[in-house]
Amino acid sequence: MSADHATEIPGRTAPLSKTGRLSIMLQKSESLRAYSLLSPTLIIMAIGILVPFGILIVMSFWTQVGFGFDMAPTVANYEMAGERPIYGALLKRSLWISSAATVATVLLCYPMAYFVAFHVHRNKMMWIVLMTLPFWTSYLLRVFAWKVVLGYDGVINSALMNTGLVEAPLEFLLYSQTAVIITLAHAWAAFAILPMYVSLEKIDRSLLEAATDLGDGPVMRFLRITLPLSLPGVISASLLIFIPTTGDYITPALLGGPDGSMIGNLIQKQFGAVNNWPMGAALAIILMLSIAVIALGFMFTTNYIRKRIS
């Protein structure tokens, strides 16, 4: 095997092929290649996100006239939302319900995430799959399941009645804010567990060993090392639950009743029975802005607190 063979290989003799100019440009610029790969997705997302949102914003300044629209820009919708107390109240209630659900979920799920991160040594993946599996299945059906469970004649009530623990069915279980909060917390648990788990998993175990070596007991170790280091995960989890649940429609529709209805229901009505699309658009925009403001505020506060701690 000598070097002579080197010149005899087909396809390797001079001149070397240089592919076209576009290819050369692509070869030289990595970013260009990256974006061209990404372009179909970006195009779809642009069409699917930017354009509809743009139109939504535009439509919020229109007025509904029968089945058409008066496109003269006006802020009447926003004014009405600001004046009539029902809109503000409903928005506040939605934010309150989401917050309650978020807090409940995060508090309840943190120990679970902690357990899998620190106390499961084999088959971690299996635990994670088990915890998140319900989340991938139909949201509608899971909410419906809670309706069954919480109903007047539902599982909890009939069980309690049968065993004689109560005499009359518990009323507050269904068609109330409580029902909505419970259901939301249950339905979005997986969204909370994953970021907190990832955050906890990343903590370097030798930090904990160092803390123990320096005199901390388990509780102090948790408070001083584990909790602060897992804070990013907690923040992500909180945001990941708060933001989607604020605009939830299915849960309040199925088991909120009048007391537990949220702004999502009102928005849907604008596009349905009430037939005031511009109003619906305006409400949607208001909802998004509220979420954005609260989320940003939350992030700034936590950042501020974090800087103060460290």
Partner: protein
């Protein structure tokens, strides 16, 4: 930018990553059939230079020629080079045979022919009968050889090796070094080898390019790099070196007379660096070039008295550290342990160092 006759030629090559300059005006030539090493510590740019040769990084300015052809704009899969990656990059979803035969697809050979070539290769790398093994069942050393075979089967003009022995333990590494050298001689291809291990480079290479911070400091044979470094940086990078400050007194007939701190008046070959009387220079002497004795040696060309502080016993040799008046650092002296029972040698006592004037290297940079 003109072509020259070297097989591989880097001409005024520069590489920027954003604002950071990774390669700084590097020009070097590699001859056909050479075992050429790029040597330097991490971050010096040696791997970047290799990747530019392979085509995975573009050149910011300058040109690279392989066998007379300019390589800019030529993507990696069209270049007549093949690379052995640092972590071997064996395809985990293919078995050994398919890994080695991977690049043969474009040649449209019959299956029997392909398998024949693979078997030849397996013989060459001393892993016959391994064809059906899954890639994931191999040890580090085996993967390394498969990566080699996979590249060599395509009969490239140049083989690039990116620190291929770094992940192996010492004994395996030494064995693989010998095998690689023998392989290169057998196959006759140009090898471009990247390493941070200077011993490895010295053992394997025909020539070495010492790199630091994106520049090539010196390109030379191992012997000349060791005995005639052109700068303090190169001198201290390869092996240990003692440095003394001095001034040039006079130059006559290719010999320079220098006044050196601690050593007194010393004569040395002037070397290839142009020296003038009055220049401040560094005088460099390797530890093994000193002779250590307890009494002033008679008839030695140059000698100086010092105090022995420390000795370190290394089995086949010992290192001695001698402080000399006028020299800030202790002078390192290395001597083979010819006689046995050397315990007493480490005791602090006055000693004499002597050397031959040809052992001195005069460096212009201080």
């Amino acid at each position: 930018m003109t072509k020259n006759n070297a097989f591989i030629s880097f001409q005024n090559v520069n590489k920027f990553f954003g604002k950071f300059q990774a390669i700084n005006d590097v020009s070097l030539d590699i001859d056909h059939g050479e075992f050429f090493s790029l040597l330097g510590s991490s971050g010096c740019g040696k791997t970047t230079l290799l990747r530019m040769l392979a085509g995975f990084e573009g050149v910011s300015s300058g040109e690279i020629y392989i066998d007379g052809q300019p390589m800019s704009g030529v993507p990696p899969h069209h270049r007549p080079v093949n690379m052995v990656f640092q972590n071997y990059a064996i395809f985990p979803h293919l078995n050994v045979r398919d890994n080695i035969a991977y690049g043969l697809r474009k040649q449209k050979l019959s299956r029997t022919k392909r398998y024949e070539m693979v078997d030849e290769m397996l013989e060459l790398i001393k892993l016959p009968e391994y064809g059906d093994r899954k890639a994931t069942q191999l040890s580090g050393g085996q993967r390394q050889r498969i990566a080699l075979a996979r590249a060599l089967i395509l009969k490239p003009k140049v083989l690039l090796l990116d620190e291929p022995l770094g992940a192996l333990d010492k004994q395996l590494r030494e064995q693989m070094q010998l095998e690689l050298r023998a392989l290169q001689k057998t196959v006759g291809i140009t090898f471009v080898f990247v390493t941070h291990d200077q011993e490895e480079a010295l053992t394997l290479s025909d020539r070495i390019a010492v790199m630091s911070e994106g520049c090539d400091l010196q390109v030379d044979t191992p012997t000349r790099l060791y005995e005639n470094p052109v700068s303090r940086k190169v001198a201290s990078f390869i092996g240990t070196m003692n440095f003394f400050d001095g001034t040039v007194m006079s130059i006559k007939d290719g010999n320079a007379v220098l006044k050196v701190d601690g050593l007194g008046e010393v004569s040395a070959p002037a070397g290839t660096v142009p020296l003038l009387a009055g220049n401040t220079v560094s005088v460099a002497i390797r530890p093994e070039k000193f002779l250590l004795s307890n009494k002033k040696p008679a008839g030695a060309q140059c000698s100086v008295k010092g105090q022995l502080n420390n000795a370190a016993y290394l089995g086949e040799r010992s290192h001695y550290y001698v402080s000399i008046e006028g020299v800030p650092q202790p002078v390192a002296v290395s001597a083979q342990n010819r006689d046995r029972a050397k315990e007493a040698e480490g005791q602090s006592r006055p000693v004499w160092l002597s050397w031959d004037s040809t052992a001195i290297v005069v460096l212009k940079d201080v």
